[in-house]
């Protein structure tokens, strides 16, 4: 049983963070960054994040697990068909990876290989179903597995997405397909999170709220224009425009979100993008 699943089942407030594999083979900076994490339950390893080609998430996650860090392996449907997804999941299990975040994936258009052919042979609901099948010892062809993987599968959600009911019917499908936890997109809107959490209540699946450390107004505007599912409200951008110390403002906003999540959710997922040293301050 992974530490993440154990802590969530005990009702403990969990903290996850994330690391992106390098562009290249030098793992040292990523491993060093993870070594600096404090008070983290598990570390998400991103999968060609934002459709930018990087070293395999599975390879970095395997290294981290070997070094004693619990990981949440992110796996997207964008770059692999159903055979490759199953192979990678079995491989992940062989490396001791249990926690998964199963995603559709950002469209290739957003990344550094916009000419590539996006796969999307499965969607995230089908990927969850397939993972549930592997955990029962059968692959998508109905064939038995010699050695059955143990996973703790999670899924993603954007609680602020509109129309809400349309977004939420997919959340319900993901729960039916075996999602045991949710990690959310960056949260900026108290009302949207409250509405989402009250809809989640009957489903009884823990939610880990996404907290993004925004460094300045420019970054906020960039996110709004370039990152699918991230929408920083104008009111927050104005706070950055008014302050002399934008990083301190970003820290304050992240702390407010963590406080909000402590009241509503079962954990936070911190996205600090190179400012891992600020994690203790965000959690304080």
């Amino acid at each position: 049983m992974s530490r993440l699943s154990e802590q969530l089942s005990r009702g403990q407030f969990v903290v996850t963070a994330e690391i992106a594999p390098p562009k290249g083979t030098n793992l040292a900076p990523a491993l060093a960054a993870v070594a600096k994490f404090e008070g983290i339950t598990a570390v998400n390893v991103t999968d060609n994040q934002g459709a930018n080609m990087r070293l395999s998430a599975l390879a970095l996650a395997a290294q981290l697990q070997k070094a004693g860090t619990e990981t949440i392996l992110q796996l997207t449907c964008r770059d692999r068909n159903r055979m490759a997804l199953q192979s990678d999941l079995l491989g992940a299990s062989a490396f001791g990876i249990e926690n998964l975040l199963l995603l559709s994936g950002d469209h290739s258009k957003f990344g550094d290989h916009p000419d590539s052919r996006p796969v999307f042979d499965l969607d995230s609901v089908q990927l969850l179903d397939m993972t549930a099948g592997l955990m029962m010892g059968i692959d998508m062809a109905g064939k038995p597995l010699n050695g059955v993987p143990k996973f703790f599968p999670g899924a993603a959600v954007n609680p602020a997405a509109e129309p809400f009911e349309l977004m939420f019917q997919k959340v319900a499908k993901k729960v039916d397909s075996g999602a045991r936890f949710f990690q959310t997109q960056s949260i900026f809107d108290r009302n949207a999170l409250e509405r989402f959490m009250s809809a989640m209540k009957p489903l009884r699946v823990p939610v880990i709220a996404g907290v993004l450390l925004i460094r300045n107004a420019r970054m906020a505007r960039f996110l709004n224009e370039n990152i699918p599912g991230v929408q920083v409200p104008d009111a927050l951008i104005e706070r950055f425009d008014r302050t002399a110390d934008p990083l301190a403002e970003g820290l304050a906003i992240a702390r407010e979100t963590v406080d909000l999540a402590r009241g509503l959710c079962q954990g936070v997922h911190l996205m600090t993008l190179g400012h891992e040293g600020m994690i203790p301050a965000i959690l304080k």
Partner: protein
């Protein structure tokens, strides 16, 4: 119909560099309708080729260039002009080009890029609504195809990139799943939302497609 457009002229000029005498073929079906390979475009092509100092030995607009036997018949009617050319230049979709290339022993230069099976919104505005996947789900999705009109072809609802009901890939386009959801609601039925849709059977779209009316696929 098949939507196609003229290749960039510099690419065509390169493809034609080794030929001085050309026979031209257009198509009276899709390529005429979408203004890429009808009489008018063949005439414009001829004018352009003259500026490159190429000879045009003749031309024909075939009824349906994708009809292999009909293309053969129409080319036979222009046998001498075809024979005196060094290459045949075709303004038709990729299917049309291959009807021609399988019927002549000359080099064939395709002049168009084939883009998609398109619906016509209004003159000159084409939209892809069907990707010929061989496994149609339209009866459950209120007549809106997510395989084609969702940028990711998702089958169980919108992705996390939906923003105010619009697509993450193109903010001008409404999310296919939002449209499906709204139309199903107005029809007061659940449709595709009543179940988890299993992975698609892509073997029905095995490449290359083959189908015989009396034998099935």
């Amino acid at each position: 119909m098949i939507i196609s457009q003229l290749k960039p002229l510099d690419e065509l000029q390169q493809a034609l560099a080794e030929f001085d005498k050309l026979f031209l073929v257009g198509c009276a079906a899709c390529a005429t309708a979408c203004k890429s390979g009808g009489e008018e475009e063949i005439f414009k092509l001829q004018e352009w080729l003259v500026t490159l100092e190429k000879d045009v030995t003749g031309s024909v607009v075939i009824d349906e260039a994708c009809h292999i036997m009909r293309a053969a018949r129409d080319l036979r009617h222009h046998k001498n002009a075809v024979q005196s050319a060094e290459a045949v230049m075709v303004l038709a979709c990729g299917s049309g080009v291959q009807s021609i290339s399988s019927n002549v022993d000359k080099r064939v230069v395709g002049g168009l890029n084939s883009m998609f099976l398109g619906n016509v919104r209004r003159f000159g505005h084409y939209e892809e609504m069907c990707s010929l996947c061989g496994d149609c789900i339209l009866n459950e999705t209120a007549g809106i195809c997510p395989v084609t009109t969702c940028a990711k072809g998702l089958l169980n609802g919108p992705c996390g990139g939906m923003k105010d009901g619009h697509c993450e890939v193109d903010a001008d386009i409404e999310c296919a799943w939002r449209l499906i959801y709204e139309r199903l609601q107005s029809q007061q039925r659940q449709g595709v939302f009543a179940r988890r849709v299993p992975p698609k059977n892509w073997s029905r779209r095995r490449q290359p497609g083959r189908y015989q009316l009396n034998k099935g696929s």
